[in-house]
Symmetry: C2
Subunit: 313 residues, 2 copies
């Protein structure tokens, strides 16, 4: 299969590498010049479960695609949320009538962007538990195992979904069909919509936040807003289950002492955050649906305020 | 007049000093042993508008009052909000039927505590624009000018208010009668209820916060909650005027580069904040009056979370 990985950061590198190793014709597309140059020179390097590897995989900068002239069978979207629209614009000549587009971005509401470029029946929404890191430009750090759940967004498209699942599974990516992907996406967004913004604003790891006397009340207020918006979209959330999953983040023995990704983006690396695609998406949808979302709104505002105070870019 | 200054920190020291210099019999009461010991040894020292002075004024620890046996004519309350109840308990034997009690604490709702110890007709609520600092234990730093507005809390008590105003004015404290002290208190609380919590949570001075694109929206949401609660108590707030006053805090030429007092308490000195008596009081009152106050509630929770994460005491 001819597969475009649109956004070849840590996760895109993992997927590109594993799909390439399974014999697919993979094209990586990214916007980070130094990363692209190193992959062109040395191949995509990775520490892959402890083994140092390098694979020659085609990579392009998203601004040098004019000369390319093919339709992909599958596009897997792995950009940062705020880069999605520009990426769709860059790759649109390679998205043909038959091209399936699988969105694996964090956050919610990305289908509203993708729909402007891709017919509904070709859009697949997914949720992945795989993890990945970058050691630096051109080199990934890939440990552990994961899964992918996915579903066709349109009413037609289940057979396309199953074809994509087969390709992913040949690459050992553990994909499976979900009858309710939107609920999974909302559930994951609840974890991100609490841990990310709160630990960023409170300058805290997840355990230290979780151990405060106010953690439960704040988290419950935020999750209640997510659940109301999700319910309006017929994606029912099991709130006690979501709250229990969030609490697993507080465990000092496992991930509790880590700072969530938004903290690393903003506080460590001084980068703009994805808050508009997590809590901010709930605010936008809430406004549309007539649902009050003051906690998500205040948290979104505070994170934007922090970005500006720190001069994040 | 026999005047007890209950809470002899920076502001209490200013009032004690000026009332003592005007010939009143002033007794300072405080809970900070080192401060008390130094005042007992050297008198209350101050840099008073540039002049180094020291005045012998009686001072007691609030836990050594059992042996005292007098009723004060006037008690001026200047404790931190969370120390008010314990202070009222400590001084109650000196609060007689004729003792006027003037509350000049920051924040709102202190009358609910004072009412448990003092008849309504003897309670005066005030709001002061005087400022003061401490150079260290036993020594105040007193610059500039200020005013006091005050009013009797009960329907009776205007004549008591005027007597107290006269005593304060003999000490050049610029007191005047207010027909609507609750509005002034709420107005000041709006400034504290925005600048204090927000700059503390965002680790920012007032100018840097004020210059963010989210400042206006956040401040308007918080002030709207204060205004609804105030209106329920018939203390109408002129919202545009309050917002304009808050914006004066952003001015880099005047006070904008300063951090508000709550930031100094928590971030600099690792002390618990007065948030429960500012935004937290709005939450409590809102719950009682059936008014939604999500911004004040979330901000109160975030500040408490930050206190716990920092191990403030």
């Amino acid at each position: 299969m001819k597969i475009i990985i649109a956004g070849a950061g840590a996760m895109g590198s993992r997927f590109g590498l594993m799909l390439h190793q399974a014999g697919n014709e993979v094209v990586l597309i990214d916007g980070w010049q130094e990363h692209i140059d190193l992959i062109k020179e040395h191949g995509l390097r990775a520490n892959f479960n402890g083994e140092e590897i390098a694979e020659k995989i085609v990579i392009y900068h998203q601004n040098e695609l004019e000369t390319l002239n093919f339709s992909a069978d599958l596009v897997i979207l792995f950009t940062k949320a705020m880069q999605l629209d520009a990426m769709m614009q860059s790759i649109k000549s390679m998205v043909g009538d038959q091209t399936k587009v699988l969105c694996l971005l964090n956050g919610i509401g990305h289908e509203d962007v993708i729909k402007q470029y891709v017919p509904l029946s070709n859009i697949l929404l997914g949720n992945t538990m795989w993890t990945a890191g970058l050691e630096g430009p051109g080199k990934a750090k890939l440990f552990g195992n994961g899964t992918i759940d996915l579903q066709n967004l349109g009413t037609e498209g289940k057979s396309s979904a199953n074809e994509v699942i087969e390709v992913l599974n040949e690459a050992k990516l553990n994909a499976r069909y979900s009858d309710n992907i939107l609920s999974s996406i909302y559930k994951k967004a609840c974890v991100n919509g609490t841990m990310n913004g709160l630990c960023t604003i409170l300058d805290s790891n997840m355990a230290s936040f979780g151990e405060t006397s106010v953690a439960d009340a704040i988290v419950e207020s935020i999750v209640a807003e997510f659940a109301q918006v999700a319910a309006y979209e017929k994606a029912e959330l099991n709130v006690p289950e979501v709250l229990a999953q969030i609490k697993t983040c507080y465990n000092r023995e496992t991930i509790g002492l880590h700072h969530p990704s938004m903290y690393q983006d903003l506080i460590i690396n001084n980068r703009l955050t994805e808050i508009d695609y997590i809590n901010g998406a709930i605010v936008r949808k809430g406004r549309e649906y007539g649902i009050e979302t003051p906690y998500c709104q205040f948290l979104t505002q505070l994170v934007h305020g922090k970005e500006e105070i720190l001069g994040a870019k």
